[in-house]
Amino acid sequence: MARVVVDVMLKPEILDPQGKAVHGALPRLGFSGVTDVRQGKRFELEVETADEATLAEIEKMAETLLANTVIEDFVVRVEDEASAK
């Protein structure tokens, strides 16, 4: 078994009101030094094997459903076996 992670983030030029809200909350809680926050989504896909064909298929899934490429970018990566357990 392998775990493939798809990270989806709003494109840099798209306003992220949720990230802004989190950013605004940090100083109120006494945390300083954070100059910006962007909030995204992480998908964990469990697959039999993370071979080339599977990854190509997951790229297609990300493009079709997981991300809206009009406003979002995505990155597909295989998580190493140890952390997948």
Partner: protein
């Protein structure tokens, strides 16, 4: 004319939309998201609400509902399709309309009577209005901020495809005050405000939303 109103799980405004269709002089036909069937309708309304709980992204799951295969095919052939609020989000997710709707810039749900200017009265859904007519209808959304890249915005404005623009107040941070747009052909219209809630004097801010539901008949009899 027979106008189909699609119900998805989580749709809220299908009953109001059907009522507006009837008041507008057309026959409302209930369509179910899970059916590969448009029941022979002449046009389709995708009403507002929170289909599939807005999971993943607003409209992202509904866009793949069985009925959408038929809606998309019919839209490409020229059938009039109106997406209101969540329906607008579904139309952008289905790539029938460009751009996307994201969370309001001020992060709060907004519910107000909203003034609009109908800038394009040549679409299947706006022909009952005069060009640049100002109307007031209900607006209610949490993720109604229209965004698109600069080239797309310039293209929409250059081709006169901005159907409606917010007046007085930009309620959600939409780029260039865009409240509604149409496709190249003018048969598909997406609108964030709710004309179906402004069709009777008894409730809502008046009857100025009715034009969206009388335009189809007007365009046929014209």
């Amino acid at each position: 004319m027979k106008i189909g109103v699609v119900t998805f799980p989580g749709t809220l405004d299908d009953v109001d939309a059907s009522r507006a269709v009837t008041i507008g002089g057309n026959e409302a036909v209930a369509l179910w998201h899970g059916d590969h069937d448009l029941k022979g309708v002449d046009a389709v309304v995708l009403p507002g609400g929170f289909s599939f709980g807005d999971y993943l992204r607003c409209g992202a799951i509904s866009r793949f509902s069985p009925v959408m295969t038929e809606v998309i095919e019919a839209a490409h052939k020229g059938m009039p399709v109106l997406g209101i609020c969540n329906g607008f989000q579904i139309l952008t997710e289905a790539h029938l309309l460009p751009g996307a709707l994201i969370r309001n810039d001020h992060r709060k749900f907004v519910c107000r009577d909203q003034k609009l200017r109908i800038e394009n009265n040549a679409t299947a859904w706006t022909s009952a209005y005069a060009k640049d007519q100002e109307i007031t209808v209900v607006l209610k959304n949490g993720e109604g901020s229209y965004v698109a890249d600069v080239e797309t915005l310039d293209m929409l404005e250059g081709e006169g495809r901005v159907v409606a623009r917010y007046l007085d107040v930009n309620p959600n941070g939409s780029l260039r005050d865009i409240a509604g747009i149409t496709n190249e052909r003018g048969n598909v219209v997406g609108l964030m405000p709710h004309p179906e809630h402004a069709v009777e004097e008894l409730c809502g801010p008046g009857t100025e939303g009715l034009g969206f539901f009388t335009s189809l008949a007007a365009s046929v009899f014209a």
